[in-house]
Symmetry: C2
Subunit: 217 residues, 2 copies
């Protein structure tokens, strides 16, 4: 199940990617994200600047990636892992809530960093799009791959809704963080995700019913 297409090659690749991620985050935390050049990141990770952007298309992506990790894969796995008994909507929503609540990103200050800088917030929002394809597969699995297009649309919609939720979360926490100093009341994120995703429940349910009717197990 490990994503190991080929041996040594892929290992080094992941190692480089991880080194870049770590270096980017470390430097950003040390100096503040505006005083980090991609040359610095590349040097710290021991690769050429040119190689750097074989991995990341922007400085911001590298930093954000260090915080978000491989969340998209984890979300898809979490959906697949829910017992077949629970409804599709529940499976999807709870999987997402779980993965976005984890151990609070194993780095509060990193999250704070992201929240404050506009460019990083932007990049952070963009990561929501990454769950679309893994989630498509996970949903298609549950619907029985008869109609992969429906799964795709649903996954895209869920991803869009997650984006909206995080947008709102960033909006509110940015305001309150400005006021209260350094408080990051991330406590409301799960609720925000649930309420934002709620309007999509009927669509998920309907698709599930259709699938059951077509392929009664």
């Amino acid at each position: 199940m490990t994503t190991r297409r080929t041996g040594l090659r892929e290992q080094k690749k992941q190692a480089t990617r991880e080194a870049l991620r770590a270096a980017a985050l470390r430097l950003a935390l040390e100096r503040g994200p505006d005083d980090v050049r991609v040359d610095d990141i590349a040097e710290a990770a021991g690769v050429s600047p040119r190689t750097y952007n074989n991995y990341f298309s922007s400085r911001e992506h590298a930093i954000v990636a260090a915080v978000t990790g491989e969340r998209e894969a984890r979300v898809a796995a979490a959906v697949a892992d829910r017992p077949a008994g629970v409804g599709l909507a529940d499976a999807v929503i709870e999987a997402i809530v779980d993965q976005y609540t984890a151990p609070d990103e194993s780095g509060r200050d990193a999250l704070l960093l992201i929240i404050t800088r506009p460019a990083l917030r932007e990049a952070f929002l963009e990561t929501t799009a990454a769950i679309e394809h893994p989630l498509t597969d996970a949903i298609a699995e549950r619907l029985g791959d008869d109609d992969p297009h429906t799964a795709r649309v649903l996954a895209a919609s869920v991803a869009a809704a997650v984006r909206v939720a995080i947008e709102r979360w960033l909006h509110t926490t940015a305001s309150s963080a400005t006021i209260s100093g350094l408080v990051v009341p991330s406590g409301s994120l799960p609720d925000l995700l649930r309420t934002t995703l709620a309007p999509l429940t009927p669509a998920l349910d309907a698709a599930e019913q259709r699938a059951l009717r077509r392929r009664p197990r």
Copy 2:
């Protein structure tokens, strides 16, 4: 109803924007889009290169904008114009189909240009995101602005679905265009849009029912 915030100022601004759009498209058609520098576009439109990207964030956006026009505004208006009797789902879906079928973009060759070049296809896909905010307003209007958040999520989902539809359309037409030469069988786009948007109908209906129950007219 005209977006006229202030007089002469806004006019000149729109004129410049239009000049840039036109210049970008003309040059792209003349020389092929890869041989157009933004300096050329700026020069052709009579502004400095620096001014150019006060208007467009990339060369591709300028070209695509010339073809898509202000579609997002037209979609929102079309939704608002549907009689109050028709259901929300129908209003939204048909408005979108209409606006994406118009007179086939008043320029077949321009569309063909977009379809062939990867960078332009990318930019074209991104335009779907632009309908989110206007559409949010239009949907909120129909739902009675009690809960603007629901409207937002639905609009974002619809935009995502439209993106998926166009992605598929580009995919299929790119293949068939390669084979058959210059044929652009855009005929299937409306159908594609309808089937792709269909899975969202339950969500739109449910939101509408909730609104009706809360605010029986």
